[in-house]
């Protein structure tokens, strides 16, 4: 019961701050709301029994990615805000309509594609509760070792690419 209340409260905060991120006038305010949103998502992970991911979420998102965004927002010091410039060809309503259409589509897929839990997953459910750091680490370094290494290579390539792109001259 208490867990359900906590879940709904955290979810409500996540949604509110997500709306604030999208609607904030200033980019810096948007970044601050994004940090708070990520912290609530981390709380939700902890509630769902994924403590490792909660820590990773705070470290990587709230600590790393958002700081990167802040740096860029401050480097890109705007003389005139982009929203002041209005483009006659801009169709905000169509954007909203497309977003609603995507939501409806996903909802239909979710409603039709729902499959009752198969015996296999029922058997998996009989296993002891997972979600701790040990379980995730075990899977990462055994079954998913090659994707893990590929992800690390991807991060290396992205790092080099970002440096090359942001450098003034090579």
């Amino acid at each position: 019961m208490g867990e359900a209340i906590a879940f709904y409260v955290i979810s409500a905060f996540i949604l509110i701050f997500a709306v604030l991120v999208v609607t904030a006038r200033e980019a810096v305010h948007s970044v601050v709301f994004l940090v708070i949103d990520f912290l609530f998502v981390a709380a939700l992970y902890a509630l769902l029994g994924a403590e490792f991911l909660a820590i990773i979420q705070i470290l990587v998102y709230a600590g790393g990615i958002v700081v990167l965004y802040l740096f860029v927002v401050m480097l890109v010091n705007l003389k005139r805000p982009p929203e002041a410039y209005s483009d006659p060809h801009r169709h905000t309503k169509i954007g909203f309509a497309l977003a609603v259409a995507i939501l409806v589509e996903v909802g239909i897929i979710g409603a039709k594609g729902y499959i009752a839990p198969s015996p296999a997953s029922a058997a998996a459910a009989a296993l002891p509760v997972t979600g701790n750091t040990q379980e995730v680490g075990w899977l990462l370094y055994t079954n998913y070792l090659i994707p893990f290494e590929v992800a690390s290579m991807l991060l290396l390539v992205a790092m080099i690419g970002a440096i090359v792109l942001a450098k003034r001259e090579l």
């Binding site: 991120v21 990615i65 890109v76 970002a162």
Partner: protein, 85 residues
């Protein structure tokens, strides 16, 4: 949903990138929720990969924004029409 609205509606490309992060976060929440529901840690392993890809995407995307801003002095996507013919 909110992230998609952000991508479609806003003009500041930095806020569009933040909206993409929101979308990826929504996916992560779904993966963790199913992982919890099905008592299966594979979902959480995938969340780790999604976070890695999101970090890479943010780094490269922000590098592109910086390079573009240095040349054009704008972050307005309506003015980003270099590739239009």
């Amino acid at each position: 949903m909110i992230g998609v609205v952000g991508v479609m509606v806003r003009r500041n490309i930095i806020i569009i990138f933040m909206s993409i992060e929101l979308i990826l976060n929504a996916v992560n929440i779904n993966l963790v929720a199913f992982s919890n529901q099905l008592h299966n840690a594979i979902g959480q392993v995938f969340v780790v990969f999604v976070i890695a890809v999101a970090a890479a995407e943010a780094a490269v995307g922000l590098g592109i924004i910086l390079a573009f801003f240095r040349n054009k002095e704008t972050v307005n996507i309506d003015e980003m029409n270099l590739m239009r013919w």
